[in-house]
């Protein structure tokens, strides 16, 4: 597998990550179905077991820490479906990943056109 120069603060979701995160992403893909979202909320541990998540993936979801989910192989397009279950927007998860308040993160976006 070709190595590439890392881009700071950016996880490149490549084959290596795709293998690592497969169970996690497959579970999140199931959340396209409303019944599956309800089943997950009804018993999160059982649902994670059903999809064969490893402990790192389970703990990242229990903690709702997006950077940990990414490190565990999560793909942002699939994680967005998990975040949606808890009403978290891309500003909420952006704020969390950058260690900012949601208000500060939104302000940063608004100011991105200033310079």
């Amino acid at each position: 597998m070709a190595e590439h120069e890392p881009i700071p603060g950016t996880v490149k979701f490549d084959g290596k990550m795709a293998m690592k995160g497969y169970a996690l992403n497959k579970m999140c893909y199931s959340f396209n179905n409303a019944e599956n979202r309800e089943a997950f909320l009804a018993d999160q541990e059982a649902y994670m077991d059903k999809y064969g998540l490893n402990e790192q993936q389970k703990q990242a979801l229990r903690d709702k820490v997006v950077l940990d989910m990414l490190a565990a192989g999560g793909n942002i397009y699939y994680l967005a479906k998990f975040a949606g279950i808890f009403g978290l927007s891309v500003q909420d998860i952006g704020a969390q990943q950058t260690g900012m308040s949601v208000e500060a993160f939104k302000e940063k976006l608004l100011r991105a056109g200033d310079e």
Binding site: H4, E5, I7, P8, G9, T10, V11, K12, F13, D14, G15, A18, Y22, N25, K26, C28, Y29, F31, N32, N33, A34, R37, V66, L67, L70, N75, I76, Y77, Y78, L79, A80, K81, A83, G84, I85, S89, V90, Q91, I93, G94, Q97, T98, F105, K108, L109, L110, A112, G113, E115
Partner: protein
């Protein structure tokens, strides 16, 4: 013979779909974004396309990582929007053009672009949001559609040059169709944005404006760029600019800029609208 009348670009952020559903057209946050579209709709009214080929990326609705095609194309009689997991209201089905799709497939594969072919296909916000923006109030049912999916979800992504060449092959495919049809090409997604990692919220206005300028008359400047270059300069999801390049490749050498609008931010994204006419 069928001909390509021009191309349109638009961002395809899910939040836009929610804003449309909630009629936020005059809301101060949304107005500068929505105000870009009437000029493009007027152009569409003038050129009267019969078919829209919509180049987008699937975000985990029709495809999962079990089977992730690099290039895929729809050949279905209709395309439905479905639940993506977080509540954009689903909307009426889009009309397909299966015979035209199969002509494109025959031509593209003959031209060494080996497409995955889909006789059933759910279309997500990447497709539905631009269609709703250019054909408001569900008037998109007036035009037939062909969804064309390029992978931007899982690396390796196809290079900017490869996507541009796909567009060129798409032009040859359209122009060899025997019926007199007007075809418009939509390149969706972008511009700079990043949703994941410590660099979430990354926006690069200078790079975006360069992209909007150069893609009109000098698209070849992008052909030496790598995907990593795009991720670095436009953010992890800003690599969706390859979808714009595929559109541009289909328009031929000379185009006329009819209209443009750049506005940021919408959600975490800098948005770009271009309306390019092929009859330069």
């Amino acid at each position: 013979m069928a001909k390509i009348v021009g191309g349109l670009t638009s961002s395809h952020i899910p939040a836009i779909g929610s804003a449309i559903a909630r009629d936020l057209f005059e809301d101060p946050y949304w107005k500068p974004f929505f105000d870009g579209f009437p000029a493009a709709r007027q152009w569409l009214h003038d050129v009267k396309p019969d078919i829209a080929i919509v180049i987008y990326n699937d975000h985990g609705l029709n495809f999962f990582l079990d089977k992730q095609p690099t290039f895929a194309i729809g050949a279905a009689p209709e395309y439905r929007n479905e639940d993506e997991g977080w509540g954009i209201p689903t909307i009426p089905a889009f009309k397909g053009a299966p015979e035209f799709s199969w002509h494109l497939i025959d031509s593209l594969v003959g031209d060494e672009f080996d497409m995955v072919t889909c006789q059933e296909m759910a279309v997500d916000h990447g497709f539905t949001v631009p269609m709703q923006l250019f054909w408001p109030d569900f008037s998109y049912t007036d035009v037939a559609t062909v969804p064309l999916v390029i992978n931007t979800v899982q690396h390796p992504l196809p290079s900017p040059a490869r996507c541009y060449k796909l567009g060129q092959a798409l032009r040859r495919a359209v122009e060899s169709y025997p019926e007199d049809l007007n075809v418009v090409i939509l390149g969706t997604g972008g511009l700079s944005h990043q949703l994941d990692g410590e660099r979430a919220g990354f926006i690069n206005k200078k790079f975006d404006l360069m992209c909007m300028d150069k893609i009109v008359d000098e698209p070849e400047v992008f052909l030496d760029m790598s995907i990593d270059d795009l991720v670095r300069d436009a953010g992890a999801q800003g690599a969706e600019f390859i979808l714009w390049l595929a559109m541009r490749g289909a328009l031929g050498d000379k185009v006329k800029l009819v209209h443009r609008n750049y506005h940021l931010p919408i959600s975490n994204t800098a948005t770009g609208l271009l309306c390019l006419d092929s009859a330069a």
